[in-house]
């Protein structure tokens, strides 16, 4: 991991009408780091993730990517900062058509050869699946892998994960996250993952932001946050308090 700052959040906030979803966030994201954003439902985690590639705009503060305002070149930003949604949108058509969806506007992607597409599928461990197969027939885990491959074709530098395993069983969740970690290592990716499952993220993230009611309540490594008993909020939630 090097020290180059990719994203810099300076007093960033987000509100809808009178409702403050995110309040005065200050942190940065360094290249090749794996950052997990943890917190209970409604904490503002997904909203925070959407700010990274401008699917939502901050309503206050300054947010920069490589020192530049995000809105300078939105399309390039979004190609560089891939987003894996909680529920992947799989388009009607074959696996190949889904992989090449960005080929509608990017001729380099449109010209990707079949054997190159298979390499992307191998990368997400979808081995020996025909490119012609109907993508909507894939299982939940396979769909999430296909969605990851579709993002990787854009050759992103940053990958945003919005609870990508929330609809999968624990074993499959670990297998997807293991895959993400391997892909990160191979491609030198920077990752921001949003999750409510701090036990799952413990295996992968280097740094954690704890978010509650739109505010950062703690930030640091798992070791540092354990020392502060910062995860007690999850224990309380598990007990139903």
């Amino acid at each position: 991991m090097n020290d180059q700052v990719l994203f810099d959040f300076q007093n960033v906030s987000f509100s809808v009408g009178d409702v403050d979803i995110l309040k005065g966030l200050n942190f940065h994201l360094k290249q090749a780091e794996f950052l997990a954003v943890l917190g209970p439902s409604g904490a503002g985690k997904s909203t925070l993730l959407r700010l990274f590639n401008l699917l939502a705009s901050p309503t206050g503060g300054d947010l920069t990517y490589r020192g530049q305002p995000l809105q300078n070149d939105i399309r390039t930003l979004r190609q560089n900062v891939g987003y894996l949604f909680q529920t992947p949108a799989i388009f009607n058509g074959s696996i190949k058509e889904n992989l090449l969806i960005a080929g509608r506007w990017d001729t380099t992607i449109a010209n990707t050869l079949d054997h190159e597409l298979k390499q992307y599928l191998d990368q997400v461990e979808l081995f020996n699946i025909p490119l012609t197969r109907n993508a909507r027939e894939l299982s939940g885990g396979e769909k999430q892998r296909l969605a990851l491959a579709r993002v990787l074709i854009n050759k992103p530098q940053v990958l945003l994960l919005d609870e990508p395993t929330s609809s999968l069983d624990p074993k499959l969740s670990r297998s997807i996250m293991d895959l993400v970690k391997r892909v990160q290592k191979n491609l030198d990716l920077t990752i921001v993952a949003v999750s409510h499952d701090h036990e799952l993220m413990r295996r992968y993230a280097q740094r954690i932001i704890l978010l509650n009611a739109g505010e950062i309540t703690a930030m640091g490594s798992f070791g540092e946050l354990d020392d502060l008993n910062a995860f007690d909020m999850f224990t309380d939630l598990d007990r139903g308090d």
Partner: protein
């Protein structure tokens, strides 16, 4: 022997109320509770069309391009209002979108017909401009309303797909292309079906009217063919212009889908 034309007198029209009486009898038999509504509709049909006849007669007596244009613009404004009222979902600037699309398609298609196809002299003759303009506006209104309704449904249905495409680097127009295509298809297919079956299973209204008024069926058919072509192009053009304005309302200047509009309009 072929008659010159059949004249329908006011007395004949009163006799035709026998149809409504028969319908009311049937409705009563089945206890459908539609009698009152049907009576109001019968009365409105009579009053609205009679008034329209007098308005048209008044306009037909004044051959001036300004009169013709004013009447067409009033018809377009009323149609745009009606289209906005019919829209079940909230679409920002929808009235403006309807107005621009109906105005553009009407002027372009009506102008082509008057100047180059029928070669009407003078070109603003209300005898041609008003009825043909009315057909163009009516068809454009129906088609654009249908497309707009379907477009919002498509956006709701495809919200995840649209955000995925935006997140991959698509422009808003590229991201909603599939939704646009599906909604225009849905609106144009009835027009295409009508073109496929015309003359086989139905004799269209304009042709029927002309034949009843004593026009040679061969001539009436030519008019009908022109009208079918005109309808399709009107629908296509009105839909495209309307959607080109409407789709932008669903995105911010930062290429973000305004999902809140899709929630509000459920």
């Amino acid at each position: 022997m072929q008659p010159d034309f059949y004249t329908l007198t006011w007395t004949d029209l009163i006799v035709s109320l026998v149809f409504i009486a028969f319908a009311i009898f049937l409705i009563k038999q089945w206890k459908l509770d539609l009698e009152k509504t049907l009576l109001i509709a019968t009365f409105r049909t009579f009053v609205q069309l009679t008034l329209m006849g007098y308005v048209l007669t008044w306009f037909f007596g004044r051959e001036h391009w300004l009169f013709m244009l004013t009447l067409l613009i009033i018809m377009i404004i009323i149609a745009s209002y009606e289209g906005t009222r019919r829209q079940k979902d909230e679409i920002p600037k929808f009235f403006m979108a309807m107005l621009v699309s109906l105005l553009t398609s009407t002027l372009l298609i009506l102008g082509t017909i008057l100047l180059f196809i029928l070669d009407v002299k003078p070109w603003f003759s209300p005898y041609a401009a008003i009825p043909i303009g009315g057909m163009i506006i009516g068809n454009g209104l129906n088609s654009a309303s249908l497309t707009a309704n379907r477009f919002v449904s498509e956006l709701k249905h495809r919200e995840g797909e649209i955000e995925t495409l935006l997140a991959l680097g698509a422009t808003p127009k590229l991201a909603i292309y599939d939704a646009m295509k599906a909604s225009i298809h849905a609106a144009l297919i009835p027009n295409i079906n009508a073109m496929m079956t015309v003359g086989l299973v139905q004799i269209p209204g304009v042709m029927t009217g002309q034949i009843l008024a004593g026009i040679d069926p061969i001539i009436a058919v030519r008019y009908q063919i022109m009208i079918m072509y005109m309808w399709f192009t009107t629908a296509t053009l009105a839909n495209m212009i309307m959607l080109a304005i409407v789709y932008r309302q669903f995105f911010t200047s930062n290429m973000q889908l305004r999902s809140e509009l899709l929630r509000e309009s459920t």
